[in-house]
Symmetry: C2
Subunit: 394 residues, 2 copies
Amino acid sequence: MAPTQATDGQSERVAVIGASMTQFGQREEWILDLLAEAGSECLDDAGVDAAEIDHLYVSNMTSGEFEGMTGVMNALVHDLNAMPAYTQRVDQTSSSGGAGIYAAWQSIMSGASEMTLLVGGEKMTHKTTGESTDIIASIGHPVEYKHGVTLPSFAGLTARHYLERFDVPRASLAKVAVKNHKNGVDNPNAQFQREVDLETVVESPIIADPLRLYDFCPVTDGSAALLFCPESVAQEYTDDYAVIAGVAGATDTHVVHEREDPTVMGGVVESGKEAYEMSGYEPDDIDVAELHDMFTILEFLQMEGLDFAEQGEAWQLVEEGYTEKDGDLPVNTSGGLKSKGHPLGASGVAQAVEIYEQLVGEAGPRQVEADVGLCCNVGGFGNCVITTIMEAAE
Amino acid sequence: MAPTQATDGQSERVAVIGASMTQFGQREEWILDLLAEAGSECLDDAGVDAAEIDHLYVSNMTSGEFEGMTGVMNALVHDLNAMPAYTQRVDQTSSSGGAGIYAAWQSIMSGASEMTLLVGGEKMTHKTTGESTDIIASIGHPVEYKHGVTLPSFAGLTARHYLERFDVPRASLAKVAVKNHKNGVDNPNAQFQREVDLETVVESPIIADPLRLYDFCPVTDGSAALLFCPESVAQEYTDDYAVIAGVAGATDTHVVHEREDPTVMGGVVESGKEAYEMSGYEPDDIDVAELHDMFTILEFLQMEGLDFAEQGEAWQLVEEGYTEKDGDLPVNTSGGLKSKGHPLGASGVAQAVEIYEQLVGEAGPRQVEADVGLCCNVGGFGNCVITTIMEAAE
């Protein structure tokens, strides 16, 4: 417990030695069982006993609102047999998972913990669409909410602006969905393991013009977990681990209409800049990325905010196949939120699970060649963003 | 942002350079305005501009359940003009405030932040008692909740056991309430600034036998804030600051009836032991303490768990006046949760605000002589506990 580890030597880094995710989709279990399932599997994956955990972070936005259970992190310590490990719920709305990674990283770097389990999860599908919408819309500024502007509305407004300003064909947006569904076929835990063709996307029902049903991620139940420790401890367990090379979070205006340029996600730009600087890597060094494609337009905006493309040009890379699994920068090999699903608190964790599996060579049919990977987890409409860069142990 | 600070030198510590709390009680403002009020006052107190904040933690349990606002931390960054500071909501039920201190400490020690503002708060009084009870009862294990065992029930059962087992007069419990109300008279921000006599307490209506109305803290609105930075940075601002000497969190069983001895709070014992060890201080070194007196019985159990008294003997210290303001170990000089009030997420922060003010000599009529202080923040019925030890800068 004493803060000795981080001060021992400049060279200590935070390792990820285990990862897991449950089946995403419509699940019968309640939140606690979903979290326990991912948490146990992650410990098994790493070969670590629950008694070795010092800290347990639970990334979850709404267990109180969705299931009337607020003490879910304490119950999870109990169910995992991890007592007296410290626990805390990490909430950063839809970026709670990324915030959990940041908290776990801090717990190790500060010397507070030598073994931190992060479990993210959400149970959502049992609510009606109206109930879910009310809860999710509460992420935004109440003024916007009262005027009926929800996250999908912002996505529609932004997409229209982007298409018109940069003279982009509507089909380019749809190609993000087509690509991510294609990748999801190879992910046995994805909610949708099936391809969709371009025509299906562009002719699906309008949700927030110009965006249609297939431009949006689904409502999902599921959980994902990661196990963190100092790199020196990791080496006692395995040679196949990943390292957090950079992690940073940043906010943008909470009131979306106050942003100078609706196509620039300030939180992405700022957290990306800090994560690159911390890691010593540049955009060109990234071999694989998981971006927060809650809406197709967001994949463009994050590619641009993270300097994978110039402003207004990300769509061209998608058109050219640059972000396909066999392209120069595979994006969302997991299927992304679009086909894998988006259980709020789990999503940021699941992004990093995919990057971890790519880096340690456990991605099966989704495997690409990768030494360095990035994930970008977006809260609200970019109100808070966490960018994480991971690298394979050499 | 790079994790350089904590690795610079073994001697760097985390300082607290500002503190504030709002009026506690029944407030008209909603949660966001309460948080902004405490946050702004804390920055003013330290003479630090909002633009200097790297991280903003919001300790809050139920802004979603109580007010339908989940993105409250993002909104607060906006309202404080602290963009692009990273933000996250810290939830550890009724110990969210203590968990926020632990998170803030980690953010500085890991090198992630050089200036972290922590704001804790809750808005509760606008709900009916039934609504509040439902939300607060969701802290516990659902099995207990479904059987009607709420936190006050556990307190009653534990109090009865304690009184019978250790042959303690009922009046001893009441003396905790009398003492804390007496202290609260000198706290202009306390919800109840009035004394109660022994007779009033022991003759007040029964809530959970043997505990009566005046053995319980009230339902409260309010907010409190603290500003953290590395000690080397603190010295640029002030000579009058406090230092986090030790901080640790630990869990006990989530199902209360699984505990071996109902009078031993395992989370208190474990977090206390770790915090003492980290600080190098022993119980005898503590000059002033804020304990989580949500129920009077808890003040006894924490005194014993923290080794201020042997098991079954804390009540004797209270009888002897040992914990009075002019005693050897003043406990709850702020008035405690009992008279100051208990806005869940704010309480752990407000405990540390009191200790900070005692250490830097700003406690006014409540001032005692203190170089080292401790606070103990309890989540649920001891399901998770955070103990913090602070010392005055020399």
